[in-house]
């Protein structure tokens, strides 16, 4: 066995430790920083949309319809005379809202199934994993469309539809993480010390399963937003006149040659947001990947 060297102990209070553990690995990844900036900007816009908007996003004014970008309408107006700037802001708000909500819900459901499967083992695990396999057999968008077809359209239905399609991947990730962590020595050490089962799960198992899960969740938010926009584009997502980026792109289709900004600005915003989310997700997963962390 190689002799383990005594590394020089790094002095530092608890706060420095936090920074060193979380901020520095992120700082070293340029993709994470770029993603953080973009997403941060969009999150800010989304959060303060009601105050940043210049007009009410759903008020129609046919007199001002199909106008290009100007001082009164920063991004122009669409065919209903609605201000695109305000609609894009609110659309971002909706997109991020739906994305986060559906991923959170899917994560909760998947975590429950994965946890039970990983801990129970045996027939229970087998049965649950077959259910998950069934869910995973469908492409996410087909599953979402099926759900919307059965339960109807609207923001809340879209959230549930997307959540269902995320349960599968999360369940699988959680189960494999649980299996891995379960076999680590400190779980057995806790059992030996007499720590009750519930406390082992909550204190020792979950916190070690959570990090990779959170990174996965971050990555899936971009998938959720894309799916949601897709559904809305095909008119089976949110109901007009809800300001939704996908819906706006669809609405602008007829006017592509005359007024390209009606599809262009929402489309561009969506693209940049997705790129930002992807960069952030990649960067975070690289930053916290134990192998790429140069110790």
């Amino acid at each position: 066995m190689t002799a383990i060297s005594s590394t020089s102990a790094t002095a530092g209070p608890a706060q420095a430790g936090w920074r060193r553990r979380y901020w520095q690995p992120v700082r070293r990844q340029p993709t994470a920083i770029a993603g953080l900036v973009i997403v941060g900007l969009f999150a800010f816009m989304a959060l303060f949309a009601p105050w940043l908007s210049t007009h009410d996003p759903v008020v129609q004014n046919f007199a001002d319809a199909l106008q290009g970008p100007s001082l009164s309408h920063f991004l122009g107006t669409d065919s209903f005379g609605q201000d695109l700037f305000s609609r894009v802001l609110h659309g971002t708000r909706l997109a991020l809202g739906i994305g986060v909500a559906s991923v959170a819900l899917g994560m909760a459901g998947g975590m429950l199934i994965g946890l039970v499967a990983g801990l129970a083992g045996g027939k229970v695990e087998w049965a649950l994993m077959r259910v998950v396999d069934a869910l995973l057999a469908f492409p996410e968008i087909i599953l979402a469309i099926a759900f919307v077809a059965v339960f109807g359209m609207g923001v809340d239905k879209v959230i549930y539809a997307l959540a269902v399609s995320f349960i599968g991947p999360f369940a699988r990730i959680v189960r494999s993480d649980v299996l891995q962590v379960k076999a680590l020595p400190f779980i057995e050490a806790a059992q030996l010390m007499g720590v009750p089962r519930v406390q082992i799960i909550l204190r020792h198992l979950l916190p070690n399963v959570a990090p990779s899960l959170l990174v996965q969740a971050g990555i899936r938010i971009s998938t959720a937003i894309l799916l949601e926009s897709g559904l809305s584009f095909f008119s089976i997502g949110v109901v007009p006149p809800t300001p939704d980026l996908g819906l706006m792109i669809a609405e602008g289709r007829a006017f592509i040659t005359m007024a390209p900004w009606i599809s262009g600005f929402p489309g561009g915003a969506l693209a940049i947001l997705l790129v930002g989310l992807t960069l952030l997700g990649d960067g975070l997963s690289n930053a916290f990947n134990p192998r790429s962390q140069g110790r």
């Binding site: 383990i4 060297s5 005594s6 608890a14 430790g17 050490a189 806790a190 010390m193 007499g194 204190r203």
Partner: protein, 334 residues
């Protein structure tokens, strides 16, 4: 003296796959790995016992059984006159407090997301040995006892060096004020200086606190430095057991003698006294398991499997022709 542990003919077997049976229709017979065979061992209160063996000796399996992680396949294992498998929940909880284990992989035995303070506080709070308010002072006291600075309480296990993390493992074992501490190769793989510090720490702690220590190692030097009694294991059997001084000076079993000879020393030339590989513990022959490598093997050794018998006042050996045994003097009437 109070007997803490009593092992009566404990055995542990595992089924590791199958092999074709004899004859066309016999199906497959299971391959049996007998990790432990006929273990007879006592551990008394205040003892320090070293379990010495190489790979395949079964020493780690033996400790897992004594910790209650697995049940013996045969034989009976008593802790304070109770069998581990049939303890009540309350007794079991008490057992987890009285018996502490220091893992070989000290860093892996701690939750990487907990700070040292939380790692040490967990067992204390669990067994209600102190209140929430007293945690900080108790943690500082423990760290001090193992020679670590109090600032270490804020670190994470991943930030500590190899020697430091093993000290924290020792501190955690002490936190519950146990009666028995088991340690699995706790000093292997360390630099000599760090190893020396840790050995001195363990030795002093056990002496000062009157703890019972069961230490697993492959190193006879470490075994004799830390413990007053040594049990040598080979392929699942205790082949020799007795006081350290006696075993080192006059080994009774040929395997112990080979181990001693193979131990590098400054004064004595290194002797490769044992040839061949350690045989596989799967499907052991029904004779002395050391016969295939023993330099003194005779015909009788290839027929009978010796059991552990007492040969001197304080030591036992499992050998048909033990070494260094004083001639039996007729009971002379003074």
């Amino acid at each position: 003296m109070n007997k803490l542990y009593q092992l009566n003919d404990v055995e542990k077997s595992y089924t590791v796959g199958t092999r074709p049976g004899k004859g066309f229709f016999s199906g497959r017979t299971p391959l049996l790995l007998k990790a432990l065979d006929g273990i007879r061992l006592d551990v008394e209160d205040g003892d320090s016992l070293a379990i010495v063996g190489e790979s395949g000796s079964g020493k780690s399996t033996l400790v897992r059984l004594m910790l209650g992680l697995e049940a013996p396949s045969d034989g009976r294992l008593f802790y304070q006159r109770q069998e581990l498998g049939s303890m009540s929940a309350a007794d079991r909880q008490l057992f987890t407090r009285e018996v502490a284990f220091i893992y070989q992989d000290a860093r892996g035995s701690m939750n990487p997301r907990l700070r040292v303070r939380d790692v040490l506080a967990e067992p204390m709070l669990l067994h209600k040995l102190c209140s929430e308010a007293q945690v900080d002072s108790k943690v500082a006291e423990l760290l001090n006892r193992v020679g670590l600075a109090p600032e270490m309480a804020d670190r994470y296990p991943a930030e500590l060096s190899g020697g430091q993390v093993r000290r924290v493992a020792v501190a955690r074992a002490l936190a519950v004020q146990p009666r028995v501490i088991f340690a699995d190769e706790s000093v292997a793989g360390l630099d000599v200086s760090v190893q020396a510090q840790l050995l001195n720490l363990l030795r002093d702690l056990c002496r000062d606190m009157g703890l019972t220590l069961v230490f697993i190692t492959h190193d006879l030097g470490v075994a004799s430095y830390l413990c007053t009694r040594i049990a040598v294991m080979y392929l699942g059997r205790v082949v020799e057991e007795g006081p350290s001084a006696e075993i080192l000076a006059h080994p009774h079993h040929p395997y112990t003698r080979s181990l001693l000879r193979a131990f590098p020393s400054f004064d004595r030339p290194l002797t490769a006294s044992l040839s061949g590989e350690i045989p596989s513990p799967i499907n052991l022959p029904a004779c002395c398991r050391f016969a295939s490598r023993c330099p003194d093997a005779r015909d009788a050794c290839r027929l009978t499997d010796p059991t552990l018998v007492q040969v001197t006042a304080r030591s036992s050996v499992a050998c048909l022709f033990p070494l260094n045994v004083p001639e039996e003097t007729p009971a002379a009437v003074s």
